[in-house]
């Protein structure tokens, strides 16, 4: 019973807190730009507004377009149930759950791309094409990084991985874990369409990747998409923060505290990265991803060498 309550609490805290992270990122960017910035809870307001609105569908679209936001949202929620928070066990955990985790994110992308193509607009087709191209390069990084963690922790389950990681792991494999965190940070930026890969604020449809794919959505559908995007940000952020806080080797009440602080630091860090960097040219994004791939492979090789 206690575990059930704990799991429910973990899930709901994620579901509730996820949009707040975007608020923190945007506030950080605003501070760097010398502006006051939107309220921290702006995304909640936006979603509340959108949920009250009606929907407009283009006549060229089919049921796929309507189904995609819901499927995408449920896919990312499934991924959330697999991801442990603050080194506690995840609501759903079994060996090999990290494969399901990666595939859930894949499913979310699949339906988003499909819906974009369903509109028949050349812009959305272009965005979909870019999304697929970059994710084809990003997914191996994510999976190799996770494989390296499996190797380091000796268990093919997310919960067990984070439960097994302690300061001793860091002392033994510190450099590799740093590389993994760096690679995952790149993936975090790519997957969540942040600068330097994509610009979430741009209105220039020729340069967009993620935004252009959801250009045709309105009302509750758009709210679902925004919410799903923030959950994806949350769940990938959790992955990074879980690794990072294992260094502190905390127990009891301090772990969730450190976790919360870690998520906020991550959001601020992303805000800072977005403020001090211009967006990369689309031609150079694969190079960034290749760099991340190299980091992940190095980490993997390091861990494989030192744990055998």
């Amino acid at each position: 019973m206690k575990t059930l309550l704990l799991h429910a609490f973990m899930l709901f805290s994620g579901l509730i807190a996820a949009p707040f992270l975007l608020g923190v990122i945007n506030r950080t960017k605003a501070l760097f730009a010398g502006r006051k910035g939107a309220p921290l809870f702006q995304l909640y307001f936006d979603m509340a507004k959108l949920l009250r609105k009606g929907v407009t569908y283009s006549r060229t679209t089919t049921w796929i377009f309507r189904a995609a936001p819901v499927i995408g949202l449920s896919a990312v929620m499934t991924a959330m149930t697999l991801m442990p928070l603050a080194r506690m066990s995840a609501p759903l955990s079994f060996p090999g759950d990290l494969v399901l985790f990666a595939y859930c994110l894949g499913l979310m992308r699949f339906v988003t791309v499909l819906a974009a193509l369903d509109t028949g607009s050349s812009f959305e087709g272009m965005g979909a094409s870019r999304e697929v191209q970059f994710s084809a390069l990003a997914e191996p990084v994510l999976i190799i990084a996770i494989a390296a963690l499996v190797c380091a922790a000796g268990s093919p389950s997310l919960t067990a991985i984070f439960a097994a990681m302690t300061r001793a792991t860091w002392q033994a494999l510190g450099p590799a874990l740093v590389l993994i965190v760096a690679a995952l940070l790149v993936i975090f930026l790519v997957e969540n369409a942040r600068i330097p890969v994509d610009d979430p604020n741009t209105h220039l449809e020729l340069t967009m990747i993620h935004e252009v794919m959801v250009l045709d959505y309105s009302g509750p559908d758009l709210a679902f998409i925004l919410y799903a995007a923030s959950l994806k940000l949350w769940v990938l952020g959790t992955l990074i923060v879980n690794i990072a806080i294992s260094f502190l080797d905390l127990h009891g009440f301090f772990t969730p505290l450190a976790f919360t602080a870690g998520m906020l630091v991550l959001a601020v860090l992303v805000g800072i990265i977005e403020s001090i960097m211009a967006r990369l040219s689309l031609l150079k994004v694969p190079r960034l991803l290749m760099g991340a791939l190299v980091l992940a492979v190095l980490a993997f090789a390091f861990i494989a060498r030192f744990t055998s």
């Binding site: 283009s58 090999g96 494969v99 595939y103 084809a136 922790a153 439960a163 744990t307």
Partner: protein, 619 residues
């Protein structure tokens, strides 16, 4: 066994009955599919019972041919392959009855049905045969029947070429298989499978057998680089034949490989690594080639190469599991591979049949000319979409389950490291046999059936337990712990290959299948193009920025979008991965289409308003 014999009899007799309907296409349309469905139904019952867990059925009859015996057996491994063969073939036959209707009178459909039923019978015989000669006979009938099926539209030059490529490739493969059985027979003194055993043979012989099997059966299965016939032959054949060839016939190659593996005894590490390597290369390259295709069926053919790669990967991981004594890894690898055989048979034949419907409705397989079909072919579109999602391995569809097993097998290989290497005791709650409840529940039936029964007795009994392994090996110079370390280290890089293959594969599928589902009637699009180009009255500028632009312009956009995303995707792949291996075929508009074009061509003289850069016209 009675059902299986009956199935074979019905199919072969029915095939000749089809010949009797020569010149009477209406009869052929009834007889051919009926025979196929009856035969398959008869065969399905015993196959399914064996697959569910009944004892293997075997039959041995004397035969006139020296060294030959009419030795048939339906064990679990045969059943894993026989069930999709019979199921898919029966469904394809029903589909083919209507599909071939437009050809009646123009083509000899009776002959086509003859070969179709012969193909079915020979595929069934291939998985049942327990004698090398019988196997080779069935194998050859299968190759010839499918060759004639491919040559259905033999007046087309491309079909002729595809047919001959296929014939040559498959016979090269057969030559390897022939040598393989000769070696096996010489070693064992019999040509019956039951007598084949290489557990005591010299490692060099086992290695030779393994390589011959990988090449020989790999040719049929479509491993890269011996896949050349596959993308030629599959698009050339009628769609229901493509479905059978791609869905199940190439799996007989996998079957042959697995069957030979059961003769080999404890595999050395490099067996597994070879299959992992072949699988990864086939997986990655298959999907990259698929990305660059415009032809719907050709794309599906390359996707078969990719999926065969995933199956080989699973087999390789299974073999590695056997070699390094990890039952979980072996179980997951083999179970995943075999399950993927079934899954791929289902969704690939579905996609080929869907592609056939698209071809039937639109008259083209060129995806550049297709789009928006989901609105016009709702059921086909929905089904193709489901098939595409499944072939992408997306949860919760069947493709995910088998891929999950394979990757989980690989991850298990990673997680099982020796103790004490990293400090921190008690960190590994889920070591080796630590499957949790959820996991055991996960696809329990398939694990159970596919492996316990599906895997040949020998493998299942021996290599899983260290005790059963060759004593000489165990007592070798490097000792126990040393060899373990060495093994695990070598296992480390397995997931690279597998995961990159799967990831890139998925990306490719997204592109591929989206193009698949979104298809349009090409002529209508062309008509619209011409209309808008002539800028007649009532035509409006094509406003594309407006997100919800609708009306005829959108159809144009859809068309543009389709071309665009294919172009970008394949272009990107070329740029980053294939680096300039293909060139666009860019031409200006003919002068009569656009009068002013002729004029602008005169401008290069001033060097500014030059004609846009054109690439070389080679392809």
């Amino acid at each position: 066994m009675i059902g299986v014999e009956l199935a074979l009899l019905i199919l072969i007799a029915g095939a000749f009955l089809c010949l009797a309907t020569l010149g009477r296409p209406a009869w052929a349309r009834v007889v051919g599919p009926t025979v196929a469905v009856l035969g398959c139904a008869a065969g399905l019952i015993p196959s399914a019972t064996v697959l569910i867990g009944a004892a293997p059925i075997s039959l041995r009859l004397p035969w006139l041919i020296p060294l030959g015996s009419l030795s048939l057996e339906m064990d679990a491994l045969s059943a894993v392959f026989a069930v999709p063969i019979l199921l898919i073939t029966a469904l394809a036959a029903v589909y083919g009855a209507e599909y071939l209707r437009p050809y009646e009178g123009k083509k000899e459909t009776s002959a086509s049905w003859f070969f179709f039923n012969m193909l079915t019978a020979s595929m069934l015989l291939v998985v049942l045969a327990r004698n090398a000669l019988l196997f080779l006979l069935a194998w050859e009938i299968m190759s010839l029947a499918s060759f004639f099926l491919v040559m259905f539209e033999h007046e087309k030059e491309s079909v002729q070429r595809a047919g001959w490529v296929y014939l040559i490739a498959t016979h090269i493969g057969t030559a390897f298989i022939l040598v393989l059985f000769v070696l096996l027979g010489r070693q064992s003194g019999t040509l019956d499978f039951v007598g084949f055993s290489l557990t005591q043979a010299a490692p060099a012989l086992a290695a030779t057998i393994f390589i011959l099997a990988t090449i020989g059966f790999g040719t049929k299965a479509g491993f890269i680089p011996v896949h050349v016939w596959l993308p030629e032959a599959h698009p050339a054949a009628p769609s229901h034949v493509s479905a059978v060839m791609s869905g199940v016939m190439i799996k007989t190659g996998v079957y042959g490989l697995v069957r030979v593996l059961t003769f080999l005894g404890t595999p050395p590490y490099w067996f597994g690594w070879t299959l992992v390597g072949v699988g990864a290369v086939s997986g990655i390259l298959g999907v990259l080639f698929a990305l660059a295709q415009h032809d719907l069926k050709r794309l599906l053919a390359y996707s078969s190469v990719e999926n065969i790669g995933i199956i080989a990967l699973g087999l390789g991981i299974g073999l590695l599991g056997v070699s390094c004594d990890s039952p979980i890894m072996a179980t997951l690898g083999f179970a995943g591979a075999l399950l993927h055989v079934i899954n791929h048979a289902i969704f690939k034949s579905l996609l080929f049949l869907g592609a056939g419907s698209v071809l039937h409705a639109c008259g083209t397989r060129d995806m550049n000319r297709l789009g928006g079909l989901l609105r016009r072919m709702r059921v086909t579109g929905l089904i193709i979409l489901v098939g595409s999602a499944a072939i992408c391995g997306l949860p919760p569809l069947n493709g995910f389950v088998s891929e999950f097993m394979i990757y989980f097998g690989a991850l298990t290989g990673l997680a099982t490291t020796p103790d004490g290497a990293m400090g921190g005791a008690g960190r590994r709650p889920h070591r080796r046999n630590g499957l949790t409840r959820t996991d055991r529940g996960f696809g329990r039936g398939l694990l159970h059936q596919g492996i316990r029964h599906g895997l040949p007795r020998r493998t299942a009994q021996r290599p899983y337990h260290p005790r059963a392994r060759g004593g000489a090996r165990h007592a070798s110079a490097h000792g126990h712990s040393g060899s373990t370390v060495c093994r695990h280290r070598s296992l480390r890089s397995a997931p690279f290959a597998s995961h990159s293959a799967c990831c890139i594969g998925r990306g490719g599928h997204v592109i591929g299948c989206c193009s698949k589902y979104g298809v349009d009637r090409s002529r209508a699009v062309d008509a619209r193009f011409n209309r808008s180009r002539s800028s007649g009255p009532g035509d409006t500028p094509r406003v594309l920025a407006c997100p919800s632009a609708e009306g005829p312009e959108c159809e144009h956009d859809r068309h543009v979008g389709l071309r665009l995303r294919r172009a970008i995707a394949s272009h990107a792949v070329q740029r980053f991965l294939l680096r300039g291996s293909r060139h666009a075929h860019v031409q200006g508009i003919p002068a009569d289409k656009l009068p002013s074009y002729a004029a602008i061509r005169t401008l290069p003289r001033v060097g500014i308003l030059r004609k846009p850069h054109t690439r070389c016209a080679s392809r």
